[in-house]
Subunit: 285 residues, 2 copies
């Protein structure tokens, strides 16, 4: 058990400002005087987004945040690889446990969303994804996608439909994806392509559809039949979080030991592009 | 593979109206001339909510819908038990597969949300829960909770906080629940209380927290330590969808065969109230 303080700090509502890190640390909204992440491998309770890393991307409701380490504070450049330890491990743990993360923006961050001076508490976010990538400066970094828990307040982006009206883009995508996912699950009769498990419920069998190269930026995987696997929920979690990865000949490897622990069964009419598998494998290993 | 048509029908945007069921059937928005559910055990594509069942509850963005069968159309009363077959099985399958359901409201439904004459297509909904219950007329019915896919457009209900401002109620609940869930998962070191599986990822172990008596209306289970189990994702799905149920002595029973297939391991400092287990078991068996 940890001494982490998750969620809102009483007396400091969204929009609270702090002139400097000493005041912010005293409030407990973000406790460290220096680090951008307040956390360890048991979880992370808060982050500061203040333009310290060239790879950070701030979209307001959504932030692609660079992990800590390997950064030269004077030039803000990466000078070494990052590891999934300390605060980085904490943010990954937050994704697994669903812990809420306090996000503080500081002057120096994206001018559209950041205060002009000092620091501002901008609410609770959820870590929805994490992956390894090559940073702009040529070193491996860890990246975390955080989405505001408040974003249910704001209308989603909209796209035009054939019949001249607008429906939320997110719904369009969702309906399209679920039809493809269904096709793959039916092809395998809801059996896991890794362990052959089929979960039986009174309403029939259950399986997950896993996108190999993930949808959405920055991965931009295709929403296609040949980018989807049918997995049981346990193998879905392992695949999604990088506990296992799939090799060129459909071998299943355990990430921690490097050992082959299985093989992906493929129907004759189904194939996953090797490029998608390689892309996926690069995200966690 | 089925001939189901999921999602929006081109040319019939949200708000389209129909004078009668013949016109609506011709549009394909809801194809049957009589039934409230267009579907079978492979899934359901649309439902009509028009006050035909005394147990229906309409909250606009959320509908608690009564399954089909056992209903006397002249009195709208239940006269027999309902089974998880035909359209009822279809709605349950939609929940498992994530299929979108077209919702049509008809005159005769809740006056706050229904058209005064004919029928109106009110958009796509998601089935998020289904369970058995005793209906108002004393017969067993199946109930389905549907939530609008559009509801991201509308602000959630808000509740007052100690510091005099308002945060979305849904976020408050979420933060509270995730802290309790974390406590239970840590107690079991992320091992499934049924099969002892612990999923290992580069960010550490992963498990699900399962509420035994579900939160939210109409179940109103408590958000408490003694109402949560630590399960692997596969057993979480089986438990949640009623593929297994847990007996008074923590036996795990397979719903289909009635056979005991395991036992729930309990830490000395943890216990689940028998009432919660009995309530949960009643939802699917």
């Amino acid at each position: 058990m940890s001494g982490r303080i998750y969620g809102e700090i009483s007396g400091y509502p969204v929009g609270s400002t702090f002139p400097n890190r000493t005041h912010m640390a005293a409030s407990k909204v973000h406790r460290p005087l220096q680090g951008g992440i307040c956390g360890g491998k048991d979880g992370a309770e808060s982050i500061v987004v203040s333009g310290g890393y060239v790879d950070d991307e701030d979209y307001g409701d959504e932030i692609v945040y660079t992990g800590q380490g390997g950064n030269d504070p004077s030039t803000k450049r990466q000078v070494a690889h990052q590891e999934l330890t300390l605060g980085n491990a904490g943010l990954a743990r937050d994704q697994l446990d669903g812990n809420p993360v306090r996000v503080i923006r500081g002057a120096g961050g994206d001018p559209s969303f950041s205060p002009s001076t000092g620091f501002r508490y901008d609410g609770l976010f959820r870590v929805v994804d994490h992956w390894r990538a090559d940073g702009k400066d040529g070193f491996r970094i860890w990246r975390f996608r955080l989405v505001s828990l408040d974003n249910v307040d704001r209308p989603p982006a909209r796209e035009e439909t054939g019949n001249g009206r607008r429906v939320p883009a997110v719904i369009q995508r969702l309906v399209r994806s679920s039809a493809l996912a269904l096709k793959v699950k039916q092809l395998y009769e809801y059996r896991c392509q890794i362990c052959d498990t089929r979960l039986e419920t009174p309403a029939g069998p259950y399986a997950e559809a896993a996108y190999v190269r993930p949808l959405g930026r920055p991965h931009d995987g295709p929403d296609s039949f040949n980018n989807i696997l049918c997995l049981c929920p346990n193998h879905y979690v392992l695949f999604d979080a990088g506990g296992i990865w799939i090799g060129e000949y459909l071998e299943v490897f355990d990430t921690a030991t490097g050992r082959q622990v299985g093989t992906v069964r493929m129907a004759a009419e189904h194939g996953i592009a090797w490029g998608h598998l390689a892309y996926r494998a690069s995200l966690h290993t």
